[in-house]
Amino acid sequence: MNSVSGQTTSTNTFYKRVKSLCVAALAVLLAGCGVSNVVIEGNYPTPNVASLPVNVAVVFDQALRDFHYIEYSEIGDEEYNIASGDSHIALFSAILPAMFESVVMVDSLEEAQGLGLDAIFYPVIDEFQLALPQKTKLDVYEVWIRYNMRFFAGDGDPIADWVQTSYGKTPTETMRGTDAAINDAAVVALRDLASSFSLSFAQVPEIKDWIAAR
């Protein structure tokens, strides 16, 4: 009788373990079906460039602050939600003070016009693209971003309006997750923007003429 009850106990224990394993596997499966949120975070050094004797207000509007990009799967499901607004602000906060004599950050063009500074800088993110290795069949994660850079006089008169692009890539690596790789590629793209913007800003023809005329 004891051996029969012993067999029943071990069978019950086995089925309990199998049930726990199935519940755990189902939870993992369901977690993998949802969208993955990636918030871009990076460190941006201060550029070693000569600063211009210009006092500038920089406009970070709500569209830039809340900017996010959604990558869809081949069947139209949301795969990744990439938020880069805060990182863009951190980037411009690092590079603009080195490029200009003084920088004030504001939320709108109207607020900037009210400050009466020398100029207003208004960056806008036009487009964000992401290339994943599982789709491109390459061994790299790639990020490409297009910006519309606008530069106004202190009273709001337009001085220059130009397109700037940036590109970043990072190779695939064993044991590194997709979220970390997307973050790394985006940070490289943002650093690319910082380097090209800080070095080419004064060469934009309209800005060059405006500085010469001051």
């Binding site: 086995f14 460190n43 050094p45 201060t46 550029p47 070693n48 460039v49 000569a50 390459l138 061994d139 790299v140 890539k169 990072t170 190779p171 490289v188 650093r191 690319d192 910082a194 380097s195 090209s196 800080s198 070095l199």
Partner: protein, 226 residues
């Protein structure tokens, strides 16, 4: 004392033979070539910086390989002071990003005309700039391994193998004379195996690690003027 049965002994011997053959086969062969174009030598107060090339569209030199070479050169006898890549690139920002980094010595000459760049180089005490360019390619993947889990246990069976080929060049620029003083190339290949008899036994050829070691040792001799 319990004696193993004859079939068990034969199985164990076969397994040991297979492992031995695989170990002997998964070695790495490395070739290093040096092309010297100028005299070198470094004083105790001077340093070098090792940077990876990342401007190509289809590959980039891994930061881990650059760190490996730097750590190897910074250790042992005749060690050389190496400025970490990230510290240098961040300090020199934005002049050594993939888009802006000098590709030729005449680009470095133009860059050194910027006072802030020249001052930073002097601050770091950099005598030589070493550019590493290359990557490790995996090819020849064959075989397959199947794993199964059941009430009685789990296990894997099968056999997998692949070949790795690490190909790197190191170009040494003299920051003082703004000349390319030499190029060292390394090519390492190796075969890795994973036999699976219940448990997988990974026998990985450390191709990139061997390429790093040989390249770093040769670079150390080169920079020291040997």
């Amino acid at each position: 004392m319990t004696q193993l049965s004859a079939p068990t002994k034969r199985h164990l011997q076969a397994l040991a033979g297979l492992v031995l053959l695989t170990v002997l086969g998964s070695c790495t062969s490395t070739t290093v070539d040096e092309f010297r174009q100028g005299a070198t030598g470094i004083d105790s107060g001077e340093s070098i910086v090792i940077l990876g090339r990342r401007h190509a569209s289809d590959y980039e030199t891994r930061a881990e390989f650059v760190d490996c070479v730097g750590e190897r050169m910074n250790s042992g006898s005749d060690s050389i002071s190496v400025i970490p890549e990230k510290e240098f690139v961040d300090a020199m920002f934005p002049w050594f990003e993939p888009r802006t980094a000098p590709l030729r010595t005449r680009d470095l000459e133009r860059l050194m005309a910027e006072q802030v760049v020249a001052d930073k180089m002097e601050e770091f005490g950099i005598r030589y700039m070493v550019w590493l360019d290359g990557f490790t390619e995996t090819s020849g993947r064959t075989g397959s391994i199947s794993c199964t889990v059941g009430p009685g246990g789990a296990g894997c069976f099968g056999f997998g193998s692949w070949e790795d080929d690490s190909n790197f060049d190191a170009r040494v620029w003299d920051v003082g004379s703004l000349q390319n003083v030499g190029t060292i190339s390394t090519d390492a290949t190796g075969q890795s195996y994973v036999p699976a008899l219940v448990i997988p036994i990974p026998l990985i050829a450390r191709v990139e690690a061997n390429a790093c070691t040989r390249l770093a040792d040769q670079l150390k001799q080169f920079v020291n003027g040997e």
